[in-house]
Symmetry: D2
Subunit: 394 residues, 4 copies
């Protein structure tokens, strides 16, 4: 356990409120950190639900007043896990109050807001983290490390898909299908992850979007009774339909700064896939493949192998001595799950806060802003039916 | 065995000469056809090599004069398995001589030639076949059958990749890297297959290309001594370099006639992949996935399954009673290989020639011309950096 | 959160001390239980290490005196996570003191002790749990549920392997290789799990062992300096060798009460495997397959499926509405890891303690005693080179 | 093509008659052999069917008199592809007539006959081959080559299963279920293959059978109308039942000459499996895995790999330069099928006949006799409920 502690205020108590609470609960027990988190204050809108959530998860305090909490002297770290359109005001206020700030992805609901957050972070003393939690998966972090070591050499191809299939025509008009509540559809929700993953693993930037398709396959859905809280949605039926105002899918092509070609596709309509966050990278000296649905495994091809035995290698990324994060966990092949991505990412952030170099690079607000630029460029390309040079997207 | 026979003249004795000879050798032994092929005449350029090849494979005659052979009254079927830029004159001459004509893919090296072939076929009495031999794989044929029956419903997504990885920077300047000999790079060689597969399986047409990237990663290669006959190339080294004049990869996005979105990628630079001809189709009621590297297996997801047990099903497509072509072969899971795609496709063509409905639809010249239009549209989009409506490509 | 609470005393602070602490930490946060655990007292041998572990994990008290703690009126549940040869005295004392008792597997280091524990449990008021934690994996629990529903029908075959490969000849003489400290080798450590899994999933008992091989491949190993605390072992070398006094592997054949045939194999010498806890069950109406290394997936074959599409189905066992435990966790395919087996098993035990029917049946001491009988029968068969009828093993 | 030729007489025209005919048809076209086969005479029982089969497949002559044909001076090679109980007289007669002799597996229906065949071969001048055709699969042959090179080191474990699932209770009483026609059930049919595979790959012998179970799950089946010719069986129903007189499964444990432990299981009742001929071998330095259902792939684990990237490697065994048989076939990952096992095995036999060392070792009658001894030992162990030392089985 660390000598130093860091009081955390978490804003948000839905799906991400739960994953983050769990991360704070566990990270100091498994990792030897320079600073351990203290679960100080939970902030959400409904007083009773907030108090109840805080009690269950062991938050010491509960509040409904985020503006007060982000300025509270007792707080060192503010974690924003609210809808995308609230990220900017909360995060910027916290930065201006001198806090470290963590924020859910995508960084913001517009590129303007993302740029403001990036600028606020640049001026502030606090550290920033954007929760691209898949960087906390050992297999993806290993891919990054291998590329950084030169094991793939020059990158020719990136194929990054995030395929979900839950949004069939019978799913009602949840908040996730409405622009005003969700900010974005599959593109912002899923596409942001794979753009980050491609940038993270390759260490390269998208320089040009060379084609893009945005599509809403189901243009109207049935309006559910009440508000739907979960991904699968509503309880009753109103018999009325309303328009879907976000995308079901965005797919786009890109060129990378190292000369490679990348394809990206994010969708909720890939029937049969549940959480297939997949990336393949082919380089001069080797290749890697990953699919979150089998998250502990990284596939690797070494082009220099003896042809007799060369082939895709299934690396079970759980070796304490050899793989990112694995030292903190269980013996070989005693595998990790979804939640560990958050815990591992949190460990890196507390390493940074404590003045150490994080064992895996995590995205600060500037880094997440670069991802947001690509999201924007892909939309511009789709809507203008034109190539978009990233230099023009700022 | 059939009462009727059909004398075949095959032009070409390289890789495809071998796959086609093998198909004629075997198809009548495994299938009960209305017409059996007779291996009548082999045509190639070098007299000695042609005679030797003919003897080995059991061709009754050998010739170096294709123009004579395609008009020979003893011949009923002419099979063109030569470089792409010779397809048009040979096939058109054979059609005009009243023959049935089979031709390797892509149909031609230019859209103009392809259109001329299509027109010649429309006027002629003979049947035509384009050797998109993967339609002869039971799994892909089953996918087509399932879509045709409505098992997938409305198609949302097609993801079609043909990934090979043999063309690293050390591979010399083979004929396959030169426009004048190869006609096209990965796009014509591999891309043609996945465009055909997407059209075949979905029964839909590409209506628009919404972005495309064409890239030659290795712009110069070492000139080998002598001419390289095989895919891996040269024997000696000249120490000199020459320019690569075909693409290493083309990737493009498209919209389909049923409203779906498709991504296509053909490449020789996907290190680690050898012959990963892959297609995924997601529809309203289900989905399928296929990868040629495990060619006997079709993956299927049925969205109507009980959630308790729903999941991707691994269909081993070898059931004589239930799967295309399987009746002609071995017991369950006594699997087929690459060559059987050609044999099965040949069976369908002889069914057609004999007046029967083929058990799986095969692409005639008009059908292959539609695929050629998509190839062309993808190139135009890449070169003009603009979307291309298929109506404008004729 | 529950109204009622249950004070827990955990004895043991090594690998299993960690997995159990983590389970108590989390189970009440994810599950809605009739009784929530309170992390009351940690017991271990070394005072400083015990205090430190307790502080890190949030145990309210630390003690080195298990005999006192198991009789402490403040404690309702005693959890025994110590070496096998200490299970019996601790568990029996706790039962006699009226506590609920959880105990690590195998139940004991001898059949005699296991029988005494079973008898003590039969007389006591407390509930008992044996930590066959893989019953807490949703996929294995789903297999059990499907068999119980009759989806497999009459069972013909069980194939249960637990393959690890860490014990190559260079691994020194760790405590795990010595009978006096480990009690048993692969058989007791890994074999116990697969016997439990086979009994759990099929609901059948082993009636006869029809052959068995026990082998220690590496008969001597280098004695390490100091005592090795972890699975991989020692720090320095003494240059001396000592005898290995436990098995590296036991494999055996068995008949099941429903007439089926089972093969079991547990080993630490299956190079290439890390934690391949695998089971396959073939029945009249269907079959299942599972491998812990991809723990969230259950493979299912339904013999009644349409032959056109029949095939092994990959069930991702994460559907809140359809799969065991999944309601407590994340959205579809946001997968679980090794530790969740313990948390889920704990949830079932607290359901029982609170008077509810557990959502998945967990093994009490009598159930674990049946598994211990099979372990014993397999050893007898190997050592006597004879078949062993289970009626003779009591 | 070879200068020399070898006239072949094939006895049998059912399933194996077809696979062997196909092998003779193709082997000389793909391989450069010292001797090419000539399809001289086909022998079977029914005159019309024999003539028809011979015509279809290109056999020059047809006969119903095997005794005459095996002594015919024009014949150099006799191939026995008839029911097991006819192997001995036919093969011995042919050997005595000075022919080369190939024979289907298992070598004979009794150990006595097998020994007589072995002895006859020892005295004769002709070469012998037993059609353990899976040695003709490149992946299995690569496994053998790798073990022979020492890549696995000392062998600890062999796990060999041959799982089929076609024999559910509704399948009628086919000839395969009757001892008098089939000679043996799963054990002789499938078990023979995996015993051969284990011996072939490891180069070791079974020294002891340490337990064995023989079981006929379905003891009576409905008697079909007429005789059933294929694996799936009958056409009509008689409403009567008759006894099954062969095993549905045999599973046994064994010790190997190098000190390893092996498990074997052959069955027709492993629902969900169609032709899962699987072998896993774990050694000190590495491990291999193979499953015929994905026959072109060998999985390999190299224990000396860097832990960062170590993992099971998927070797696609199609590299002309590096893998057995691949030089004769297609480019990388243009995969082979079931039939190629026979063609490749035939190539090796003609290499031997022509005085060359075969590229992969094939089993002569003595080799197949060793496999037959293991088959016998496993039966003795099951029936006597006792360990069996192989020295006692001669």
């Amino acid at each position: 356990m660390a000598d130093k502690q860091c009081n955390v205020a978490l804003i948000g108590s839905k799906f991400m409120g739960k994953t983050h609470s769990n991360a704070y609960l566990k990270v100091g027990k498994f990792f030897d950190l320079p600073v351990d988190p203290v679960m100080h204050t939970l902030v959400a809108r409904d007083p009773d639900a907030t108090a109840s959530f805080a009690k269950r998860w062991g938050w010491q305090h509960a509040s409904t007043d985020w503006e007060k909490v982000v300025r509270d002297d007792d707080i060192q770290l503010v974690d924003v896990a609210t809808p995308n359109n609230t990220h900017a005001p909360m995060a910027i206020a916290a930065l201006e109050a001198g806090k470290h700030v963590a924020c859910e992805k995508p960084l913001a609901s517009t590129l303007d807001e993302a740029r403001q957050m990036r600028d606020a972070a640049a001026k502030a003393d606090g550290k920033t983290l954007t929760w691209f939690s898949y960087r906390g998966c050992p297999a993806l972090a290993l891919a990054q490390r291998m590329v950084a070591k030169g094991k793939l050499g020059r990158i020719y191809h990136v194929r990054a898909n995030y395929l979900q299939g839950w949004a069939g025509p019978d799913v009602p008009l949840l908040w996730r299908f409405k622009g005003e509540t969700a900010g974005s559809g599959a593109h912002g929700d899923l596409g942001a992850h794979i753009i980050d993953a491609a940038r993270f693993v390759t260490g390269e930037e998208v320089t040009e979007v060379c084609g893009s398709v945005e599509e809403t396959f189901i243009k109207e859905r049935e309006i559910p009774e009440g508000e739907a809280g979960n991904i699968k949605g509503g309880t009753g039926s109103t018999g009325k339909k309303g328009p879907v105002t976000v995308d079901d899918t965005v797919a786009f092509l890109a060129r990378l700064s190292g000369g490679g070609v990348a394809t990206f596709e994010a969708t909720r309509m890939a029937t049969g896939n549940q959480n297939a966050n997949r990336i393949e990278v082919n380089g001069e000296h080797g290749a890697i493949r990953w699919d979150f649905e089998n998250m502990n495994v990284l596939w690797y091809f070494n082009a220099a192998d003896d042809p007799e035995t060369a082939g895709w290698q299934r690396i079970m990324c759980t070796s304490a001595d050899a793989h990112p994060y694995a030292h903190a966990w269980w013996p070989d092949a005693h595998v990790l799950g979804y939640e560990h991505g958050f815990i591992n990412a949190a460990a890196c952030f507390f390493q940074e806060i404590g003045g150490e170099k994080p064992e895996v690079p995590m995205p600060d607000f500037n880094d997440a802003y670069q991802t947001q630029r690509v999201l924007e460029a892909a939309l511009l390309a789709a809507r203008n039916r034109a190539w978009v040079n990233l230099n023009e997207v700022k």
